[in-house]
Symmetry: C2
Subunit: 550 residues, 2 copies
């Protein structure tokens, strides 16, 4: 029988940029095409996307891209793939709408080939059948993917939790997961994000209780920040607002877009008269207002951050406002988030976080839910993904405790080729995989070279030395000039370096001055000597020795 | 009666760089001289210290500096003050030793005037009496300061918790705090770091249980990382190691220094034969070894980070090692800490965090402990410090719930002058206060200008354009040259800009070329046009137009 290959291009050993290749013989499909966010040392980077080299090389074999749900870490890199390879996308209605919205921004005029499916549907592509199985998560219509291969089902759990009181009443299709387990799951590719949390996570709908009590106690305006894709949470905010006779406005472009789509497609139900435009908040009294807003990760241009700087157009945060932080910081963002919150407190706001009231619930399975998934689907092989190495390690230990043999558990890294054959499975080689950093401007790549230069410039600044020499007579064309940017050595040192260079250059003969390389080495040595003498600064140094013809 | 003034120069509205001035008439004393750590957007900054302008201007009035305990955020900026003003320091023996150690590094040859006191001692300086009252914290010999003024006692709690089972058996002097409350505390300056944590914090000695069970279960080497000043924790690690017949080595220079001082002065008690030099770890079997090490905040040059990159000289982390993360991340450091931990997991280590086992305990009072402090000392006025605005706000609400009138609670910011008079107290004006950023190299300041330049360079990079013009005949001295660093526009765009500049310049008459400012404006416009046309990059642009004489 054909070998089945599973190759994560992103999302293995990390939380973010989920993208996995599955091959059966010559047929190739892709599960999810997500992005991740840069960490704080990736200067000037907007987003991070998978390296698609492998897909570009094998584009003729791609039968389709299957999307589990509409979160950025599962669909956010689509424009970067589709720009190279125009392949059909398979997804549910909500994913389609949100993907279209984002592609319209990044690939104006491009018409993606989207095939809409319903949870429960099965799609045949080449020799593979891909079945969409509904699971619960923090966005509606999330689907696990059961890929029927010659060796059994490869089951991608997608991001999931077992929520028995989901906000949209659409339960996980447990029945089908059990059936798949009985039919034979050869490999479980499972979400492992919350494997370090013991027990069973609370239902998303439990946030209602926290939100309701915070809303009831708030003396004035209520501002709720969350991920702009969290449609279930938005619904709960709307419900709580409506129950208390309050109006809801939405601040922040992305959240307005998502809210509008969710409403139009009836994934969110907004009682008549509840929604008001953000421009109109001034017409209502503080106690009537609930505002949904972007900025839960401290993004500098999001509504919440703008408000913290008193720069937001439609409202100014003031005493009496209650700000509800209904999200969890992505690790590393805590600093900027707390700085933002402190500014809001200084403006007079009361800030309510998860530590104070149960206003946030994770969308990912806790440890006992993960155990349940393993138990129900009875996989022969397991590969924990959607987790960092530390999560993958805990998952491995968990599976071992459940009786899984160590050699049937795979800790995959991006690029690993996991081959499943009749009697065995194992990692056999790697393909090109990695991260492509996308600049905050112009939708271009930040190369590793450029990032290293930025790091150096950020930490140490730059000195620019310009020396001109008359090529015909070997005299200085102008006095040498030293300029600094981001340099902590002080202006006086910059002048001293300038003087020292001039002093060295006037010692040179006209013959020596005509030798550009020699002049450069003299200048280099002088700069180095001066930096060593008067400071311990180590700036980037750019030396221009220009031979001038007259 | 004389006005008493309390002026925080640091530590009010922040956690870090604690430094407060107290004045009675002409007499001026300083409580603590601490530093803070830069946040992730303060590029190339090593530490942050208070602006001492006010102390320098009033240096003739300074009667002494009183130090509550030896943590960096209370003593770490001393060299920056003493360099300007050589004033006497009052502190206990351990603080003296640790301060001396740090001053020896930063001010070689300088002999600080240190007056050693014991907990319980009172020092008279001018018209003020300063009493050292023992409290419990994560470092031995922490003292609250009761400053006896004409208006009653101003009580600085210092960093405190009410730990009834402290590792060194030295309890908070509750008796004296109660007496002070009866004598009359006019103002309580209280730690508010953990005011958002309900209840009463666990005793430091509870970490022993967590550590002991982790140590007992560990199959091989045990590496424990913590703040290098956490002497109580070190003691517990040594105790647990000894109980299991293991050896202890210390990795990381700062921790070695602190450990040595604590041991020599008998603040730490090391059973004979337990301690081994880090150089000797290779001589012992894995199961015999416990290693204390620096790097709990992900500092790139600390021992833990070096190990994560397999660069540490004396040992390589491997399968079977257990790494115990016995600290809490400073907000904002989570990203780099988890990246470090993931690398260690990939090397095969098992990493144990507070989430998994009770191996870390905070040194700061929880909400009920803070309430107890307020209750025992019965202050007339309260000013929460050692907290961010969000903590100060919660503290204010807490005090109100305890019956304190709102106008007797002060939310101070750095520089605020709190005046206490016979019948009233209030903020009356401000003095110069702020943060001085110290560069990672050379012990010099990073000005706001330089920081802004670094931010720009980090995010957008730099283009350097060099144009030379012969001054006598108005011809180009050499082709224009464009160089880039940290620029994402690509090499081709750099060349195109170069070509475009040349194209524009050859159009100019010799008369125009002689006009440096005009040439500069042509080049500036051309660079701008090219950037707008082909990219959305916004680099810093340095344009050098050099008129050359031959």
């Amino acid at each position: 029988m054909a070998t089945v290959r599973v190759i994560p291009l992103g999302g293995a050993g990390e939380i973010g940029k989920n993208c996995t290749v599955l091959e059966q013989g010559e047929d190739l499909i892709v599960v999810d095409v997500g992005l991740s966010f840069p960490h704080e040392e990736q200067y000037g980077v907007d987003i991070v996307v998978p390296d698609f080299s492998y897909l570009i090389e094998n584009q003729h074999r791609i039968k389709g891209v299957f999307l589990t749900h509409a979160h950025e870490d599962h669909v956010g890199a689509l424009s970067y793939l589709l720009r190279e390879v125009d392949v059909p996308l398979y997804c549910t209605k909500l994913v389609r709408a949100l993907v279209k919205m984002k592609l319209d921004e990044r690939m104006r005029g491009f018409e993606p080939k989207i095939r809409e499916v319903q949870p429960g549907d099965t799609v045949e592509v080449g020799s593979l059948k891909v079945e969409f199985v509904r699971v619960t998560h923090s966005i509606p219509e999330t689907c696990a993917l059961a890929i029927h291969t010659v060796h059994g089902v490869v089951l991608f759990t997608a991001d999931f939790k077992f929520d028995f009181a989901p906000v949209d009443r659409a339960q996980t299709d447990l029945h089908r997961l059990i059936e798949l387990g009985e039919e034979g799951v050869v490999l479980l590719m499972s979400d492992s994000t919350n494997v370090d949390r013991p027990g069973w996570g609370p239902s998303e709908s439990e946030a209602t209780q926290g939100l309701r009590s915070v809303f009831a106690a708030a003396p004035g305006r209520i501002l709720v920040t969350m991920f702009s894709s969290n449609i279930h949470r938005m619904q709960q905010v709307v419900n709580c607002a409506h129950a208390l006779g309050k109006k809801v406005a939405v601040a922040g472009r992305r959240m307005q877009q998502v809210f509008e789509i969710a409403r139009n497609l009836e994934y969110a139900h907004i009682p008549r008269g509840t929604l008001i435009p953000i421009e109109d908040v001034g017409k209502y009294s503080a106690s009537e207002l609930v505002i949904l807003l972007t900025g839960s990760q401290g993004e500098p241009m999001a509504a919440l951050s703008q408000m913290s700087r008193a720069e937001y157009r439609w409202l100014k945060v003031a005493k009496g406002d209650t700000i509800v932080y209904s999200a969890r910081p992505i690790p590393g963002n805590e600093g900027v988030i707390w700085r933002t919150i402190n500014k809001l407190v200084q403006l007079g706001a009361n800030v309510v976080t998860e530590a104070v009231a149960p206003i946030h619930v994770s969308g990912h399975a806790y440890r006992d839910e993960i155990k349940t998934m393993v138990n129900l689907t009875k996989p022969f092989y397991i590969a924990p993904v959607h987790g960092e190495p530390r999560h993958q390690k805990i998952f491995r230990e968990l599976a071992q405790q459940m009786g899984h043999a160590d050699h049937r558990i795979f800790t995959l890294a991006n690029g690993d080729v996991l081959e499943i054959e009749d009697e065995r499975a194992g990692v056999n080689g790697t393909v090109t995989a990695g991260e492509i950093l996308i600049d905050q401007h112009g939708d271009v790549e930040v190369t590793l070279d450029v990032l290293n230069q930025r790091t150096r410039l950020a930490h140490d600044g730059i000195l620019i030395v310009t020396v001109t020499v008359n090529a015909h007579d070997g005299t200085l064309g102008a006095p040498p000039k030293v300029q600094a940017r981001g340099f902590s050595g002080g202006e006086e040192l910059v002048e001293d370096i300038d003087d020292a260079i001039e002093e060295e250059l006037v010692k040179l003969s006209s013959f020596e001055l005509k030798e550009t390389d020699y002049v450069r080495s003299v200048v280099t040595d002088t700069v180095r000597r001066m930096l060593n003498k008067d400071s311990r600064q180590r700036p980037e140094v750019v030396i221009n020795v220009v031979p001038v013809k007259s």
